[in-house]
């Protein structure tokens, strides 16, 4: 993200205000209105999960995107925050302490901060691969501890709590999911602003400096280790808040929440959304939660799709979704965005062919390998009934994939050309008049 300090000094002040705060107003309105549009219980649960994961993935990206620290064990701070929050809820309920539920995520945050401080002191001494390996080791250590220390982690079943047994303020008991949604949304909104504000502070700017050129950062007076360490603590704090929110939402914390799988999932969210832009992890969290919830309903092979999307992203769009959007921002500013629509539209054909072929291949294979033994080879896909052990569907799937790849190769350069014309301003009219 570029600094706008100087840009802020020129131009219309009202417009500037709008540009600076408009996105937050939109975010707030969207968060307030969403539950009025999607009112079903499933939608509400999904949105709650999104709010939690937005906080978690933004916290994670403070390390990965902003400071260049690849952590494989950030679920430690999320999970520990969540477990302490669950215990706090039980203690508060048992002792009838005058503490309302909305404060509980802060307990999780402080737990994340504390362990961020302890583990960060060890792991942030070195950057790069060493840091990644230590984070992996610590992650595995805590994950296996969670199965051994049954008192605190509750073993396989985990620890449960009842969020409605807290001090009630203004008659809100947080029984219905909608009340929990607004609690999560409020925390999410505040955390988003706080984490964005962090990127604008001297330390936040030096995080980028340490990421881009650690050596030079040392020669302008900054200890890269200290920059990494403080950022690690703050990131742990926000991850702990996300854990606390999860504890409230599920009223349950178990070993899964603190496992390596959870650490991997937050990495995927941040990366798919785009680690190079502040809003990237927000997009990633929303998309990944959607995939997790809806894809897992539709197909048993949803993890495979998830992995394929990640691989495609890494290979073809390393900037993530936010990167793709930022790529088109100059076109929007030049007013040439519509110019690329026909070329992109044409590319939809090979893209849909490829996706349809891949889905057919995966689903048929999944059926053949997993379900045929119990249900027989008959299956339905895209409304077409066929048997997974006949040759034809396999051939069709492969032809679709092959055709999609071939057409993509053939037409890809034209799409790239349309993009660069739109971005670098070769005027289409002039081309014709020559």
């Amino acid at each position: 993200m570029s600094d706008t300090t100087l840009a802020a000094t020129r131009g219309n002040p009202a417009l500037d205000l709008l540009r600076r705060y408009g996105i937050w107003v939109i975010a707030l309105v969207v968060m307030l209105v969403l539950p009025k549009i999607f009112t079903s219980g499933a939608a509400l649960t999904t949105m709650c999960l999104m709010g939690i994961m937005i906080v978690f993935s933004l916290a994670y990206n403070m390390l990965l995107g902003q400071t260049g620290m690849l952590s494989f064990g950030h679920a430690v701070y999320y999970g520990l925050g969540g477990f302490l929050a669950v215990h706090a809820m039980n203690v508060i309920a048992a002792g009838k302490l005058p503490i309302p539920l909305p404060v509980v995520p802060l307990v999780g945050g402080l737990m994340g901060l504390t362990f961020g401080f302890i583990f960060g002191a060890v792991s942030t001494r070195r950057a790069g691969t060493v840091f990644a390996m230590i984070s992996l080791g610590l992650g595995e250590l805590i994950a296996s501890l969670s199965l051994i220390l049954r008192g605190f982690f509750g073993g396989e079943e985990g620890i449960t709590a009842n969020r409605t047994k807290m001090l009630t303020l203004w008659g809100v008991r947080f029984g219905p999911q909608i009340e929990v949604y607004y609690l999560i949304a409020s925390w999410c909104f505040v955390c988003m602003i706080a984490m964005y504000a962090f990127t604008r502070t001297p330390l936040g700017r030096m995080c980028n400096a340490v990421r881009d050129n650690p050596e030079r950062a040392e020669f302008v007076g900054y200890s890269t280790q200290m920059v990494r360490f403080i950022t690690f603590c703050i990131s742990g704090f926000f991850a702990g808040i996300a854990g606390g929110l999860a504890a409230i939402n599920f009223e349950l914390m178990n070993a899964v929440n603190i496992s390596g799988a959870q650490s991997g999932s937050v990495l995927l969210m941040a990366y798919i959304g785009g680690i190079g832009h502040f809003m990237g992890p927000v997009l990633g969290a929303v998309l990944v939660v959607l995939l997790q919830v809806f894809l897992s309903d539709i197909t048993g092979a949803w993890m495979l799709y998830f992995g394929l999307i990640f691989i495609m992203m890494v290979m073809f769009a390393p900037g993530g979704m936010a990167g793709l959007i930022m790529l088109h921002l100059p076109l929007w500013q030049r007013g040439t965005l519509l110019q690329v629509v026909p070329a992109y539209g044409v590319m939809l054909v090979p893209a849909l062919m490829g996706v349809a072929g891949a889905v057919a291949l995966i689903e048929t294979a999944h059926h053949q390998l997993v379900k045929t033994a119990t249900e027989g080879p008959a299956m339905t896909l895209f409304g077409i009934a066929y048997t997974s052990n006949s040759m034809l569907p396999w051939i069709v799937a492969l032809v679709l994939i092959g055709g999609g790849l071939w057409l993509g190769r053939l037409w890809g350069p034209r799409m790239a050309g349309a993009y660069s014309d739109a971005a670098h301003g070769k005027d289409l009219g002039k081309e014709v008049s020559k």
Partner: protein, 251 residues
């Protein structure tokens, strides 16, 4: 008054000695050039002074305080700042932010996460002033990697001097520049190091004799002469060891 003192400094990599007993006193406000053939250890000496490499033996003092064994950032905080032979900037950040990174610590913002950089008037003004000084004012909002080579060299110096260090070390500031760029650059260096102590490694003898008050000649890890430009030019030992070839190469 001594700004920088080196006392019998040694450095070996494994069993290979690179710096073999260098002692040097550089006064406050002096412009000091270190010259010598390739592989003499000039850059290594810079790395030792700025804390990038640890010393094998000896000690170094800055304004009378011992800085031996300190980390680069600790040495920088005490008022010594350096540039690099290979351009060493923050390529993804804007030109303006590059310079501001050099300012933040020295204005006392340290690891603050409670100030908004947008509102740090002193830091922003100072960064902008440095940019004007190095002639990159109109490039402020570009990513640093978009600059030309000569502009990146200027930015390198901008980052180095932005924090207001009293002792400035420049490692081959004009390397790879054309003649006209070099001439422009010499006046730039003269301007931005006004009132500071300057220590530079340089291969361009024109630049060295133009800028330096005193010159040290480093050959095989030892200083064989340290004197005014006129005396160095006339020194027989220096002629034999280095300058003869260097002056010939110039012509």
């Amino acid at each position: 008054m001594t700004a920088l003192g080196l006392h019998d400094v040694h450095k070996s990599f494994g069993i290979t000695p690179i710096i073999r007993g260098v002692s040097l006193e550089i006064g406050k406000g002096e412009r000091h050039a270190i010259i010598g053939p390739n592989g003499a250890g000039k850059s290594t000496l810079f790395h030792l002074i700025s804390g990038r490499f640890p010393l094998s033996e000896g000690h170094i003092s800055l304004n009378g305080e011992d800085i031996t064994g300190l980390k680069p950032y600790q040495i920088n905080r005490r008022g010594l700042s350096r540039s690099f032979q290979v351009t060493n900037i923050f390529p993804k950040m804007t030109v303006f932010e590059n310079v501001r990174c050099g300012v933040l610590w020295h204005l006392g913002y340290r690891y603050s996460f409670w100030h908004n950089t947008r509102k740090l008037k002193d830091a922003n003004d100072r960064a902008m002033a440095v940019l004007q000084q190095i002639g990159l004012g109109d490039r402020a909002m570009l990513p640093a990697s978009f600059l030309t080579y000569a502009e990146q060299r200027a930015l390198e110096i901008g980052i180095t001097i932005a924090g207001g260090a009293e002792v400035v070390m420049l490692d081959e500031p004009t390397a790879g520049m054309s003649r006209s760029e070099t001439a422009h650059f010499v006046s730039l260096i003269r301007k931005v190091t006004e009132g500071r102590t300057l220590i530079m490694v340089e291969h361009d003898m024109g630049v060295v004799f133009d800028l330096a008050d005193r010159i040290s000649v480093l050959v095989y890890g030892q200083i064989i002469a340290c004197d005014t430009p006129t005396n160095i030019r006339n020194s027989k030992a220096v002629q034999e060891a280095y300058l003869g070839q260097a002056m010939e190469a110039e012509h």
